[in-house]
Symmetry: C2
Subunit: 398 residues, 2 copies
């Protein structure tokens, strides 16, 4: 038996207890939690087969009351003696995509981000927001299969792009490859077709939270997106953190959203919509270039889920909805490089180099932390990815 | 042992042999084919456990060479003596969703449809097509969990809508509920992240074809869709036919697409892009109101799949991509009621009633057939759905 010591200042103290999926030396992936610098095998610790699976889905599907019960049991067990075979140094394990993703929807919930993009794309329009923006959380479906775990290399996508003055589109590797620093919300239990999740019940359905990087090819996106929205500019990859922090752990991080005016329609209205006080950090080749503050987000997670299902769309265990780029009011809180560099016009200093969009070999690491009880801070690990050169599609065989 | 007699004129003759999933008297769902009015249990007929599953996915994942081999074996076996326990009258079985849907993308591949919607939504624009439309197959991701099998009731969705002169949006049941008559293409084998499907290899990846009705709430869609595309206006339900017709069966139905001018970029260019000569029929409460011709579609299935993956987006067994509304040049070939009734301004006669959009209790049945060898025609069954009244979301508990 072993006891785990948590280093001072660890983002994985006993108030976090996130869930992830690990393997060691090629063993089959299984569910774990993390305490300090130690990864703890939950199937061994708790003797429950639901954790001897390659994703969290089976556990999540057991529902809210089980999430509460397991978390309480975990909190007690991890501070005591733990079987040696359940304990692995964090540096020894491989972390995997923790969930089997069902449907994936990306929202656009930051007013600062939406307004910045409006100013960039529609400079002559006096109101940078579209008329629907303050009435509903605007979102679109993305490609579930393209969600990968932190550390997966990102291959620069190819596609069509056309500058305003080009006579015709050209094909090739994206030259405006960007990030979007977001939070992703993992749906633990879904709803049947024809029903919806009221805003007050969202936290019985949302299992947990991940860091999310929605890699974006701005040139592909700009040419393709009328009138049906982004598609190939986004569908090549999104990176999530390996640790899913339970929404239950983020109770101390709840903060009011900014004032919502006009008042949302009743299905979106809450006495006090809650956001989360998560501070993100974006490092570009090791240099911190932005600190996006999730607390600034206009639409709350509960409102996003209520909107997503209000038309009766079925939801499922493993659905992920992401917040959209997190941007605050200050320049150094913008969560996408297109905003940070104002469309490429204002390069940022990255370790002495003036940079606008991503170059091959660049690495972006997003981290984040939230307040826990008693001054502790809780972390998610990181959402990291390095850009690999484009692979041109096979030439014609004919 | 039994032999199956195919009635004259059956759309399920021995040249079709579609795949579906059935159950009888509450038994677990299994894979079948259909011959005439008989459903044949393939696990029994072929003695292969891959067909004793509730979806086609495991079989599809075995790949193109197996699809060819099984089809050849089936063609031989169904004309001979068949074990009694493999044979069920079509009227005795329940048909289920035949595939587990992975990602779902809906295209917009009919020039007539895109131009009609352009004229309706942007009447002052001299060119009804967006500038990208003839350069790439425009598409967007939809909600995979909302795909249901023919016969599933469709609950009228609720959502926000705002007329041009309304001061603010209102919430309630959609009042412009519509259909989109399409074909859906089922991906049998996928591709790894970072790779793509060349146009010449599409038919090694596309397993088969279904009828597809992308139910659409035009009022919800019109308010929500800027700038990220349709979302809740589409995500409540799409209906597919229970039978997946193998692409291998549709070889005689291949026809050239309309002339593509300007010439597509090399990754989309084919010596002769092939479409499919499938004639659809849309019946509204039993009255045929449209006959959409798939042969008129501008972008081919191979081009849609090549585009979908050219950025390196991973594809998977069970992915579905649909064509978008099929509309021909004549009014009575328009595959959506918004076009057929010109935005509601020109009602159609439905059994003596003047109708524009769908009312509660209405039923829409889409059928289709394609030429087989020697003058035979092949069918898909039907994509049918009846509109049930809206269910308002639960009122606030607070």
């Amino acid at each position: 038996m072993t006891t785990v010591t948590v280093p001072a200042g660890s983002l994985f103290g006993p108030d976090n207890l996130p869930y992830g999926v690990f393997s060691v030396d090629g063993s089959p992936p299984r569910v774990a939690t993390r305490l300090g610098d130690t990864v703890i095998d939950l199937a061994v610790l708790l003797g429950d087969e639901v954790f001897a699976r390659p994703t969290l889905n089976a556990f999540m599907a057991e529902g809210y009351d089980r999430w509460v019960a397991v978390r309480a049991e975990l909190a007690e067990r991890v501070t005591g003696e733990i079987p040696d075979e359940a304990v692995h140094p964090a540096g020894d394990v491989t972390l995997h995509l923790p969930i089997e993703v069902a449907d994936y929807v990306d929202f656009y919930a930051s007013e600062h981000h939406a307004a910045n993009l409006g100013r960039l794309f529609r400079p002559d329009n006096p109101d940078p927001l579209m008329p629907n923006w303050k009435h509903l959380p605007v979102g679109y479906h993305g490609r579930a299969s393209s969600i990968v775990v932190s550390g997966t290399d990102i291959i620069r996508p190819c596609g069509q792009r056309k500058g305003k003055d080009d006579p015709a589109p050209v094909f090739g590797p994206s030259v405006r490859l960007d990030i979007e620093a977001e939070l992703g919300f993992v749906v633990g239990t879904g709803t049947a077709m024809g029903t919806s999740v009221p805003v007050e019940e969202a936290d019985r359905h949302i299992f947990g939270v991940v860091l999310f990087n929605d890699w974006s090819a701005r040139d592909i996106q700009a040419w393709e997106y009328v009138p049906l929205g982004p598609n190939l500019g986004k569908s090549f990859a999104s990176t999530i953190s390996p640790w899913v922090v339970p929404l239950l752990a983020l109770q101390p991080a709840r903060v009011p959203t900014p004032t919502q005016e006009p008042r949302p329609l009743p299905y979106l209205a809450m006495e006090q919509p809650w956001g989360l006080d998560v501070d993100l950090s974006v490092r570009w080749n090791g240099v911190e270039v932005s600190r996006p503050p999730y607390r600034e987000m206009y639409w709350s997670p509960a409102q996003m889920l209520a909107h997503l299902t209000v038309n009766g769309a079925p939801s499922r265990t493993g659905d992920v909805f992401a917040s959209g780029t997190i941007s605050g009011p200050a320049k150094d809180t913008r969560g996408a490089f297109i905003e940070l560099t104002w469309g490429g016009a204002e390069p940022v200093d990255v370790g002495g180099e003036q940079r606008t969009f991503l170059e091959d070999g660049d690495e972006v690491v997003i981290t984040g932390s939230a307040p826990g009880p008693g001054g502790a801070r809780l972390g998610f690990g990181e959402a990291a990815g390095r850009i690999r050169p484009a692979v041109l599609p096979a030439t014609r065989t004919g």
